[in-house]
Amino acid sequence: MGEKVLMKGNEAIAEAAIRAGCRHYFGYPITPQTEVAAYMSKRMPKIGGTFLQAESEIAAINMVIGVSSTGKRVMTSSSSPGISLKQEGISYLAGCDLPALVVNVERGGPGLGGIQPSQSDYWQATKAGGHGDYHNLVLAPASVQEMAALTIKGFELADKYGMVAMILADGTMGQMMEPVEIDDIEIKTVDKPWALTGTGMKREHNIVNSLYLKPDLLEIKNFERYEKYAAIERDEVMYEEYLMDDAEYCIVAFGISARVAKNAINAARAEGIKVGMLRPITLWPFPKDALLARADQCKAFISVEMSMGQMIEDVELAIKCKKPVYLCNRVGGMIPSPEEVLAKIKEVGGAN
């Protein structure tokens, strides 16, 4: 492309995935991520790729496992209830150390919930939504441009570490249109000697597997995986700070909540309140050190979330409960307004 075009967030993800070399997409219809599948169904046949509408989200994630086990880039996308169905497969991807990109364009829950935007799958995404000890890399875009950039980044990280990278977006990010620029990128390939390509009668057979009946071996696999996770927590944390140099209050927010909070911060600054924001871009690894570094400087933290307060626990842990952390939230598909966030800033300012 190389030029700015107007795109929906969901379309930006799809186009960026193609630019990243992904030629296999498996999905199942669900609002509000449908445009990803629609875009792929148009593009993939024209570039020699595979678009397949599976019989269920469960089948789709297992098709992803099949392609990933052969060493190729592959993705699926869904929305909250569908992502719940994919958790079995995501656990298997973790247990097999297979890379894949999974996109969750969140909607309100629990159950069938609603179809309006939400951030209430934070726990599911960051704390291992399926069974067993594991993590996903979780990336939280806050613009259509980031939907594209983090999709490419997600494929690279997934390949680098042999694990699932999840784009945790929401219905707003998926549906809104913004100018976006997606350059042709140089695809960073990773050597995958474990991939199932047929032995060609030239090597021992490769096995992609998560079963270890001997508990001592399974323990070693888990320990090894957590060494990888420790390296990721050290090397791959991404966040953005906004007006934090002199901030007395720190808002923590991601995705659309961070966009809203920015407006509230500007309004508060106009009234002389020194407030800033730390926006996690990676939700796992969480920017723990960056938050802790602001704990002495700030009087209080405010977690702005579209959930009943999920990320707030990670904020409290990150700052080791040195300062109070307040919740500013709307749920069920409602989005907090800048006025509501401003009111919360003033309330917290008055109390601290």
Binding site: H24, F26, T50, L52, A54, E55, S56, I58, A59, A60, N62, M63, V64, I65, G66, V67, S68, S69, T70, K72, V74, E88, G89, Y92, C96, L196, T197, G198, T199, G200, M201, K202, H205, N206, I207, V208, N209, S210, L211
Partner: protein, 251 residues
């Protein structure tokens, strides 16, 4: 000295973990012989399922991926779509294929996915200790049907070949058994055809192998083979249920 009988190259040297009298060993050997005879070992990728045959990945000398319970046809779909030049097969039991994986089975058939499915039907969940399966016969005693399968309460067995024969996408469906030498020879011919179909691009081919579980049936190996003849085959008749490329028209 002339070698008159040897292990197929497509089988590894790993000792099989199956119970005495279990027919998985025979079926593994038939699949491996077919892989040898077709000369496809280097291009074949297997998909193991959940159940007694979960460790098939250790026994076959080909690349393998282990799938979650029931999901082998979906995983195989991904593998095949990734590289259609590879020969992709699943090896699944009755609980895996006909209960938890029913949707994956039916829809991979409906898509005429160009894969080979080896379906081992012994009418019981063997790995977990002998529970009622979707293919457990009426009145058959299992751990979870201790008074015999009461069809009034728990429903009827699923006849997979008959069910799939109504799916337009399915290309080749045959039910075979391995309870005697004659049947074993027919089983091998069916398995070979199911792999040859894939090489010829003919699409979804499934061979249902009526098998035994002496341990959980509570029978000696010899009695288990008799049970196949007297009880299993009357309910699960052998034969070709569908062959869209059959000489003289579709069967």
């Amino acid at each position: 000295m002339d070698v008159v009988f040897k292990k197929p190259h497509a089988l590894t040297d790993a000792p099989l973990h199956y119970c005495p009298g279990c027919t998985h060993g025979i079926i593994h050997r038939l699949v491996a012989e077919v892989i040898d005879e077709l000369g496809i070992e280097g291009e074949t990728i297997g998909v193991a399922s959940v159940g007694c045959s979960v460790m098939a990945y250790d026994y076959f000398n080909v690349d393998f991926v282990q799938a979650a319970h029931g999901r082998a046809p979906a995983v195989a779909t991904g593998v095949k779509r990734s590289d259609p030049s590879k020969v992709v097969f699943t090896y699944q039991g009755d609980g895996d294929l006909a209960a938890i994986g029913t949707a994956e089975t039916v829809h991979s058939a409906a898509r005429r996915e160009n894969i080979t499915v080896i379906f081992v039907n012994n009418a019981i969940y063997g790995m977990t200790g002998g529970q009622m399966a979707p293919t457990t016969l009426p009145n058959m005693v299992t751990q979870t049907s201790p008074y015999g399968r009461n069809v009034e309460a728990v429903g009827y067995p699923i006849k997979v070949c008959e069910l799939l024969s109504e799916v337009d996408g399915a290309a080749y469906l045959e039910r075979v058994a391995v309870n005697n030498v004659a049947n074993i020879r027919k089983a091998k011919a069916a398995i070979k055809k199911a792999f040859q179909n894939q090489l010829d691009g003919k699409g979804f081919s499934l061979v249902e192998v009526v098998s035994t579980c002496p341990t959980n049936w509570g029978l000696t190996p010899a009695k288990a083979l008799e049970f196949v003849e007297t009880d299993m085959l009357p309910y699960y008749p052998l034969g070709v249920y569908k062959d869209i490329y059959a000489e003289g028209g579709e069967k």
